[in-house]
């Protein structure tokens, strides 16, 4: 678990840039992002669409490599790895949770959770035990384990997906809008689960544009136009004000509740 590398940052990214070569045009998604995440942190990455948060997540998750800059994941520099080495990192060091859950619909819950271990050297007889303990950790009732995943509710599916992300005991759990497809109550319970996993020592980075969700984390990193616009403890950050929609350029250096009325004024004021 995380305490093995207690002294090493889980994420140590410096001056990451990413330029996509499109048809004729170049798109710059990241302009120089630096980010360090210590073991045991619970971080939300926020930002409007186009801010580069998906690109950052892909790089952090070893799905992609930066154009320039260095990225060390658990002390291992991954910015120059080839496809096979990146796959190895994803297999051993990162656990992914997706907005759309991405379970195999016809496969049982157990089969879905066992799947990441197919690509590792975990012995056969150990797999079911590890899957079972991951499913217990996310609080999914044992009666559901043999159900096909498309028979579950959204909240149950996301629990299965989180269990799947945990079975290879990653040093980083990366969640891309994990509550985006869930109703508020279910989303809250999934966030409670993440909080509990974090209390148990898991390092979690999640992407969201919902301020309510970000409010449940301990640290907020806000991206804007491919740059880090704000990096603060959740208690100090402008979560409520700028969670959704475009962030005005001045916000980054304007602490305090100055822009707060903008969100609440219209409906409440008129009634």
């Amino acid at each position: 678990m995380a305490d093995v590398q207690a002294s090493t940052p889980v994420i140590d990214a410096r001056d990451l840039t990413k330029v996509y070569e499109g048809a004729g045009a170049e798109t710059t998604a990241l302009r120089g992002v630096s980010l360090a995440v210590e073991p045991g942190e619970f971080t939300a990455i926020m930002g409007p669409s186009g801010s580069g948060k998906s690109t950052l997540m892909h790089i952090l998750g070893c799905l992609d490599t930066p154009t320039t800059g260095t990225y060390a994941l658990s002390g291992q520099d991954v910015s120059t790895l080839d496809d096979y080495e990146l796959a190895e990192m994803r297999r051993t060091t990162v656990g992914f949770v997706f907005q759309a859950f991405n379970l195999l619909p016809r496969a049982t819950v157990m089969r879905n959770v066992v799947m990441p271990m197919l690509y590792t050297r975990v012995p056969h007889d150990e797999r079911d035990d590890r899957a079972a303990s991951a499913l217990r950790a996310v609080g999914l009732e044992e009666t559901l384990w043999t159900h096909r995943s498309n028979e579950l509710s959204g909240g149950q599916m996301q629990r299965v997906a989180i269990a799947r992300s945990l079975v290879n005991d990653p040093s980083l759990v990366l969640a891309d809008e994990p509550t985006g497809n869930l109703d508020t109550a279910t989303g809250d319970s999934v966030m409670d689960l993440f909080s509990r996993l974090n209390d148990e020592g898991r390092t979690i980075v999640l992407i969201t544009h919902e301020p309510d969700i970000a409010a449940k984390t301990r640290r907020v990193v806000r991206l804007h136009d491919g740059l880090v616009a704000e990096d603060a403890l959740t208690a100090d950050a402008h979560v409520r004000q700028y969670g959704a929609g475009a962030v005005p350029a001045h916000v980054a250096d304007a602490p305090g509740p100055s822009a707060a009325p903008a969100l609440t004024a219209d409906p409440a004021g008129d009634v």
Binding site: H58, G61, L63, D64, D83, Y84, A87, E88, R90, R91, T92, F96, F98, N102, L104, R106, A107, R111, M115, P116, L118, Y119, T120, H124, R164, S165, N168
Partner: protein, 406 residues
């Protein structure tokens, strides 16, 4: 990825779309079954033809008279239209070291009148050695004897079907008499049924002493053929050369191109027939192979559809740590499994079709280990060849793009 996991994943994904997998397998089943069936029928017919030649005796040389200067397959003439071979020739050939048996014969056609019915049949004038050379045995009575031949005896040995035609089934005609022209022939024997072999259907022939035939049927001392047996099949060519040399010398012909006889070598004939039937079998298998190709394209089509449909799954597998090789192996395993299952069913189906069709055609189907192994090999190759492209395509998908795919 472990092999057992690969198999488990493969079976899981193939069984989750049973109808499509089934139809794809069917394409391979049809292809393999037709190849197996065609080869089985082809090889069965080949064996049947070879067996028929073998029954006639593959160690036989047949010398026939032929017009001088016209030797060769196209100009060969059977029957007595050219008169060049004599009993003395035959007796001289018997002294050659490689020759173990000599059977001179004269052939004609005659109307045979039995008490109840009559028939037009081939009449063969032969010496007693004919039975040994052609491998004939009597089911009743005896064959022509030396004494019969020496005495121009009016006796006849009937072929099995001719005996039946003249006297009816189950009747032993030995001792009965047959009239033919101004001969009154006493039946002394009936031959065991031999089946059509070579070029003479002995079953439908009446066999009389050579001297009797010369006097009453052909009206000449000349022979229509001399059949020789050679001790060893490997020495057919040497025997043929010595026979040719001796006859040229006896007939006073210097140039073999002007020989007044031709020699047919059964070993050569056998070889020719084998080549022809072998080509025929290959042709049949080739045509059947086209359906196998179509089956293979069916697999590729299905695998490409599958890769497209499962783009998100591929993205997910990559995100949780599968590398390109693992993805590639998974899709390749699926296509190879489809072809191997199809191949196994195809072998069974082809076996059944081959046996049924052979029964219908009155032949036997021969399924050799070779053709089964070939089918299995071809299946594996098809699975790999037609699975390779879709598998590469799946493996080369970017996980980011694949995860976004709707």
């Amino acid at each position: 990825m472990r092999f057992s996991d690969l198999i488990a994943e493969t079976l899981h994904s193939l069984t989750s779309n049973k109808v499509r997998s089934g139809l794809t397998i069917l394409g391979i089943v049809v292809g393999i079954a037709s190849v197996i069936a065609m080869v089985a029928i082809g090889q069965g017919s080949q064996a049947a033809i070879e067996q028929s030649i073998q029954a006639a005796g593959s160690n036989l040389l047949t010398v026939s008279p032929s017009a001088a200067g016209q030797q060769g397959p196209g100009a060969r003439s059977f029957g007595a239209s050219v008169e060049s071979l004599t009993r003395e020739d035959a007796e001289a050939l018997a002294d050659l070291s490689l020759v173990t048996g000599v059977a001179p014969s004269a052939q004609g056609q005659a109307q045979l009148v039995a008490p109840e019915t009559n028939a037009n049949a081939q009449v063969l004038g032969v010496t007693p050695s004919y039975a040994a050379v052609r491998g004939l045995t009597v089911s009743s009575g005896a064959f022509i004897s030396e004494r019969d031949d020496a005495a121009n005896a009016q006796v006849v040995v009937l072929g099995a079907t001719l005996a039946e035609d003249l006297f009816g089934e189950g009747v032993d005609p030995v001792g009965e008499r047959i009239r033919s022209g101004n001969m009154l022939l006493t039946v002394v024997g009936v031959l065991e049924e031999k089946g059509t072999s070579g070029f003479t259907n002995v079953d439908a022939s009446a066999i009389i002493p050579l001297s009797t035939a010369a006097r009453y049927v052909t009206g000449s001392e000349y022979l229509s053929s001399i059949t020789l047996t050679v001790a060893d099949e490997d020495q057919m060519d040497a025997a043929e050369a010595s026979v040719e040399g001796l006859l040229l010398q006896r007939h006073g012909i210097a140039d073999a191109d002007y020989a007044d006889f031709s020699i047919m070598n059964m070993a050569d004939l056998m070889e020719t027939v084998s080549t022809v039937t072998g080509t025929f079998t290959t042709l049949l298998a080739g045509i059947a192979g086209i359906s196998l190709l179509v089956g293979g394209i069916g697999i590729m089509n299905m695998m490409l559809t599958t890769v497209t449909e499962r783009t998100r799954e591929i993205g997910l597998r990559k995100a949780i740590g599968a590398d390109s090789a693992a993805i590639s192996a998974q899709f390749l395993a699926e296509s190879v499994t489809l072809t191997l299952v199809g191949g196994a069913l195809g072998i069974v189906a082809g076996w059944g079709i081959g046996v049924a069709a052979a029964n219908l055609l009155g032949a036997t189907a021969i399924i050799t280990i070779d053709s089964v192994l070939l089918a299995v090999g071809v299946c594996a190759v098809i699975g790999i060849v037609f699975g390779y492209y879709p598998a590469r395509r799946a493996a080369s998908l970017s996980p980011i793009e694949a995860l976004r795919y709707q």
